[in-house]
């Protein structure tokens, strides 16, 4: 059968018109001016407790504040990291304490929802946009974490029920090596900027711009001179942001950084912060004003969990009270997650000796040296 000469170009023109209609053409991104918690005059306070155990091995906690004020935490746990029984667990903190953890993402459930083979799951990130609670987590079909793909699920009822996860397309090569660790930042157009990272062959930070419906509409790279992953980002104003990254290069490491002055479209390598990093995840939080708070490990191991404060948007840093510090170099207090609740209290969740997740809550008076 021979087609009329005019038919293929006609079909092409129609298809191209439809594709052009579908193609996103968003305005230049700007960070949203999220309302920051008011400075508190409360006396210094600090308290810490373990979350209920979900499985023998736990890691990589993430935090979100629900619309009703409850704190939500998610982490992955199973018999060991990477095991087939690892699930993403979820618990909330109310006046009665932490709820019993419930599995909100499993290997089997993810495989069933995506109709694709999944070998293991890991690294969750929670974010509450005011209407929906988002969960991103990684899944791997083959190989190690460098082969991770990114999945997204949402809950409309504060985490009780979740929509089946959707796999996001973030890489052209087998869709591998996009991982997440830190929460997104709200953008002025209702979308989100999600810090991510890549670690197959090269290791660098990435920035995914999401539309309000969760669809990816842009992607940027944080190309640093050294290998650096797991960016945590704080917006300094509508256009400027600071990203800090885990140092993936040879020891001794320092917290690496990158900056953006165009709402996250482009990222430029900046000087490393004068803060140690033993190739371990870091968290950052913008407090009121230009104050920034970082949680991370000490110089050589993960047996210290430390806090640092900057009062001038990241130009200078000073130590705040440490959260954990033991002499045993094999002990691990790692993968911190930070969140400031609307009441001004600061929540920190972290991996405690790989046996569980610990939650600490404190205020700025304690950070500034006050005694509880």
């Amino acid at each position: 059968m021979t087609l009329p000469r005019w038919l293929p170009p006609l079909l092409f023109v129609l298809a191209m018109g439809a594709a052009a209609w579908r193609a996103p053409a968003p305005a230049a991104p700007e960070f949203s001016r999220a309302p920051s918690a008011a400075a508190s005059r409360a006396p210094a306070s600090f308290a810490a407790a373990m979350l209920p155990s979900a499985a023998p091995s736990a890691h990589a906690a993430t935090l979100a504040e629900l619309p009703d004020g409850r704190l939500a935490a998610a982490w992955f746990a199973g018999t060991r990291e990477g095991a087939a029984d690892v699930a993403v667990w979820f618990a909330t903190l109310s006046a009665d304490g932490w709820s019993q953890p419930q599995a909100i993402a499993t290997r089997e459930g993810t495989a069933a929802a995506t109709l694709a083979y999944v070998r293991k799951i890991g690294n969750p990130v929670l974010y509450n946009d005011g209407e929906r609670l988002h969960l991103w987590f990684v899944s791997v079909a083959i190989g190690g974490w460098a082969g991770s793909m990114l999945n997204h699920s949402v809950s409309g009822d504060g985490g009780r029920t979740w929509a089946p996860p959707v796999r996001l397309q973030t890489s052209p090569f087998l869709n591998i090596s996009t991982l997440v660790r830190a929460p997104p930042l709200p953008l002025a157009d209702g979308g989100l900027g999600l810090p991510a990272y890549h670690e197959f062959i090269a290791k660098h930070g990435e920035w995914l711009r999401l539309a309000a419906d969760g669809r990816i509409i842009d992607k940027g790279r944080m190309a640093l001179e050294r290998r650096a992953v797991q960016p945590a980002v704080a917006a300094l104003d509508e256009r400027h942001a600071l990203a800090i990254l885990r140092d993936g290069g040879p020891a001794p490491g320092q917290i690496r950084s990158a900056t953006s002055d165009d709402g996250g479209r482009r990222w430029t390598a900046a000087n490393a912060l004068p803060l140690p990093n033993p190739n371990a995840s870091v968290a950052m939080l913008r407090l009121h004003g230009d104050r920034l708070l970082i949680a991370g490990n000490g110089a050589s191991n993960r047996n210290e969990l430390l806090l640092w404060i900057s009062d001038d948007a990241g130009k200078n840093w000073r130590s705040a009270p440490s959260v954990e510090s033991v002499g045993d170099a094999g002990a691990e207090f790692s993968y911190p997650a930070l969140l400031q609740a609307r009441d001004g209290r600061i929540h920190l969740a972290y991996t405690w000796r790989r046996q569980g997740i610990k939650h600490a809550v404190f205020n700025e008076a304690w950070l500034d040296g006050g005694t509880p």
């Binding site: 298809a15 191209m16 996103p24 995506t114 070998r119 397309q169 197959f200």
Partner: protein, 186 residues
């Protein structure tokens, strides 16, 4: 499950059938290929391919259907396969981190890429490569459906590049072993 997940799963079943169709199975190849599709879907082969390879491109799906329908010779002859390899290998290298630029990123806001497809389409029409022009139209229509967030994923994927590699290597091998050293196809 999402429409994109369903597409990827079903498409891999069809692609598996096309691979079976390409095997030297004698006169019953078409029946065996059509039987292979439900087998792939039911036994987990398609799910495994979907997990490992990711969402297949519409170009690969179109070529698979082409293979199954036995429509003339596949458009993926030596020259298109070589052109795809020449483009895709540095593309993947840069997308995986070689250098500061990520060529994959423009696929999320692809209006410039769509504009660039106009001269490509004109070239295909002028060279009377109607098969490729139809596949390109099919790809763009698929992008317009909203199944894909990135235009590059519609156009090609690693499995298609692997198929192109076998076409190029196969042709080179046949040229070596052919007594006259003549090309077997264009």
């Amino acid at each position: 499950m999402s429409a994109a997940a369903l597409y990827g799963f079903l498409a891999h079943g069809i692609i598996f059938g096309a691979f079976v169709a390409a095997l030297p199975l004698g006169g019953r190849w078409r029946m065996l290929a059509l039987v292979a599709i439900p087998i792939a879907l039911a036994t987990g082969i398609a799910s495994f391919m979907h997990g490992i390879v990711g969402t297949p491109s519409l170009t690969l799906l179109a070529l698979a259907v082409w293979q199954l329908a036995s429509l003339r010779q596949s458009p993926l002859a030596y020259r298109p396969a070589l052109a795809l390899l020449t483009f895709a290998i540095p593309f993947y290298a840069m997308a995986l981190g070689l250098g500061p630029l990520d060529p994959y990123a423009p696929g999320y806001q692809p209006l410039p890429l769509l504009a660039a497809s106009l001269p490509l389409a004109a070239l295909l029409w002028w060279r009377r490569l109607d098969g490729w022009l139809l596949i390109l139209a099919f790809d763009l229509a698929g992008y317009a459906s909203g199944l894909f967030a990135n235009l590059w994923d519609v156009l090609f994927d690693p499995l298609l590049v692997l198929v192109a590699l076998t076409v190029v290597v196969g042709r080179s091998f046949r040229r070596r072993t052919s007594p006259e050293g003549n090309p077997v196809d264009a």
